[in-house]
């Protein structure tokens, strides 16, 4: 089994010990600083994202509207059009970052992500099924259409996750087995999507492809709300699991020795990770790569031995929002947001890698 982080002489997480009469504790200075810097950047990018578009609104005006005293026209554009889209980006990014950090710690493998384990592909099967079957006519189509793409994707993702858990369960969950079953499942589901696309009426295919590449175009409050609720409920739950994760990271046997109730802990981590990914993907489509790259970037910025949860959520939100804004504001034609997340995120991770490697070997 692989390690998630190498011993890093360059990044040592420093703690500030605070002792007062009321309470005492250690404050991880570096982690707090990184998260605060990330949040600050996030606010700026959020305002930029809302201000950008065919109708440009300056950042002070954006802030005025958000504070509740702005121009009515601007208010409409922001509250009905731009805000929901930005919020979807924010929530989806945070969920994917968090989910990726959980998966990677759980499987003790940086390559483990919801994309690789079939959860995303399950969502894709659901969504493509609705898009393709919805126009076929007849009672089936009516039923399918009333379900809607978002719910179908959610159902697909949750079904795939349930399948993953059941197939991997054999007197307990083993990290390696889970990952390998996920790989098989993902291959089958991907083939199912290809098959549906090849059988589809040709004018349905572009719509399916747009969904498959992941996009925030035309996302409104209707798509945002389930994802927001998922993050509100499951996010804190993930933080509660931090202590368990710290033990799980040392290996199943050690964790058990440390008093972790292994089956319960594993089921809990998986449930949270899968839930976050499922709701995120159903809202915005599969934005590949975020769940892989963000935890690794956060790990390198914060230091430590496993992907930090809060920093992963913050930087996930930042990456997706930034990518969406860049596609609208900078590029000559709009690219799928998943493409831009990789173009922005991958070079940054590579740069961090090069820098670390140089320092370690120097």
């Amino acid at each position: 089994m692989t390690v998630l982080a190498e011993p890093q002489t360059a990044f040592v997480a420093r703690h500030l010990t605070i002792r007062t009469r009321v309470a005492s504790g250690r404050v991880p200075v570096r982690a707090v600083a990184v998260v605060l810097a990330g949040l600050l950047t996030l606010v700026v990018v959020f305002a930029w994202s809302i201000g950008t578009g065919d109708y440009v609104i300056s950042i002070p005006d954006v802030l005025a509207v958000l504070a509740g005293n702005g121009d009515p026209a601007q208010e409409f554009v922001i509250e009905e059009l731009r805000l929901p889209r930005a919020v979807v980006g924010l929530v989806v990014g945070a969920s994917l970052g968090l989910s990726g950090a959980l998966f990677q710690t759980f499987a003790r493998n940086p390559l483990a992500s919801p994309d690789m384990l079939g959860v995303t592909d399950g969502a894709a099967v659901g969504a493509v099924f609705v898009i393709v079957m919805g126009s076929s006519g007849g009672t089936l189509a009516t039923g399918v259409n009333s379900l809607g793409v978002t719910s179908a994707a959610l159902a697909g993702a949750l079904l795939a996750a349930a399948g993953l858990y059941l197939l991997a369960w054999r007197r307990g969950i083993d990290g390696t087995r889970l990952v390998l079953v996920g790989v098989g499942l993902s291959a089958i589901l991907t083939a199912a999507v290809s098959w549906m696309l090849s059988k589809a009426v040709i004018w349905d295919v572009p719509a399916a492809l747009v969904w498959l590449s992941g996009s925030l175009v035309g996302r409104g409050w209707h798509e945002a709300m389930p994802a927001i609720w998922a993050l509100v409920v499951l996010g804190p739950l993930a933080l509660v699991l931090t202590a368990t994760l710290r033990a799980l990271q040392l290996g199943d046997d050690t964790a058990r020795g440390l008093g972790v109730r292994l089956q319960l802990a594993q089921a809990g981590v998986l449930l949270v990770a899968v839930g976050l990914a499922a709701f995120a993907v159903s809202a915005a489509g599969p934005i590949d790569f975020v769940a892989f790259v963000v935890p690794q970037i956060a790990l390198r910025l914060v230091g430590g031995s496993r992907p930090p949860l809060i920093a992963s959520a913050v930087f996930g939100a930042l990456l997706v929002l930034l990518a969406d804004t860049v596609t609208r504001a900078v590029l000559p034609y709009e690219l799928p947001v998943g493409v831009v997340t990789a173009i922005l995120g991958a070079p940054y991770l590579l740069w961090l890698l090069i820098r670390t490697n140089r320092k370690v070997s120097a």
Binding site: V181, G184, G251, F292, G345, N357
Partner: protein
Amino acid sequence: MSASTLTPERPQTETPSRPAVASRTRLLVGLLGLTFVVVALGLASLAIGSKPIALGTVWEVLFDNDGSDAAIIVHELRIPRTLLGILVGCALGMAGALMQGHTRNPLADPGLLGVTAGASIAVVAAIKFLGVSDPLGYVWFAMAGAVIASVVVFAIGSGASRAPSPLSLVLAGSAVTALLLSFTTAMLVNDTVTINHYRFWIVGSLAGRDMSVVAQVAPFLILGAIVALAHTGALNLLSLGDDVARGLGQHVGRARVVGLLATMLLTGAATAACGPIAFLGLVVPHLARMITGPDYRFLMPYAGFFGAILLLLADIIGRVVARPGELQVGIVLAVIGGPFFIALVRRRRLSSL
């Protein structure tokens, strides 16, 4: 490094005397058996297709190209295809074993070195900017892209003075792959002409390749396979972790260069010939490992044989199920191989990397 890596196979309580994996003699006999399976599947692949040819006829025209319909079909279409299936399947199986050995990661596939993504972007660029539209013309572009991408991954993964560690190899490989695939998608958006050519390459297929393609890629594949087989001792040491391997006298940097060079040759040539067939290289080493255990001296040839067998089998099934058309080998592999793989993973005790 977590302790599980170094833990030997847990002794089986019910039959304590029996070793956890098959004995050396059995494994050698198994190799012989697998050779027969490959030959049998090869003959089946010559006989089965949208025009079935009796095995007897196949045998006759195989050595006597008499110009009959059967002889033309066998020699022009099915022999190149079968040879390519054996070579490419074998190459991807071995490349997968190499990649999983060097990264010590069960999720590593041959494309992780950036080879597949490099080949893809080079092919797209060739179609888009140079107007290449013949699949035979893609081969050299794909090879060039594969070489450049894997050199970049290797360079980024390495430190100033040492070869990449398993972890930085995995991270650099995934990041470069994602970056290249994104640029590929960006080039394809709004360009239906290029998409139309590219989509037939990307699915991965053995169909429509003639002897010239086989001749182009065979030297690379054979060289890569020889290097891979000669490299197995080093892989055994590396699987104990870089530090232990170094302590046992293995030059880790040199082994890394040799192993990744072999991966690049095998995957690059295979991808150039058939397009990306992703699933095979990931799954086959796990199948082989279930039989041979973690010893790469046996794992490597078994992975090669299993790769060839699976690819040939999937190709033959693809020809049968959708007559008179065909199902691409990549899809068949996923649909049939996926459930089979899950069932195996569930049944067998996994031997960890």
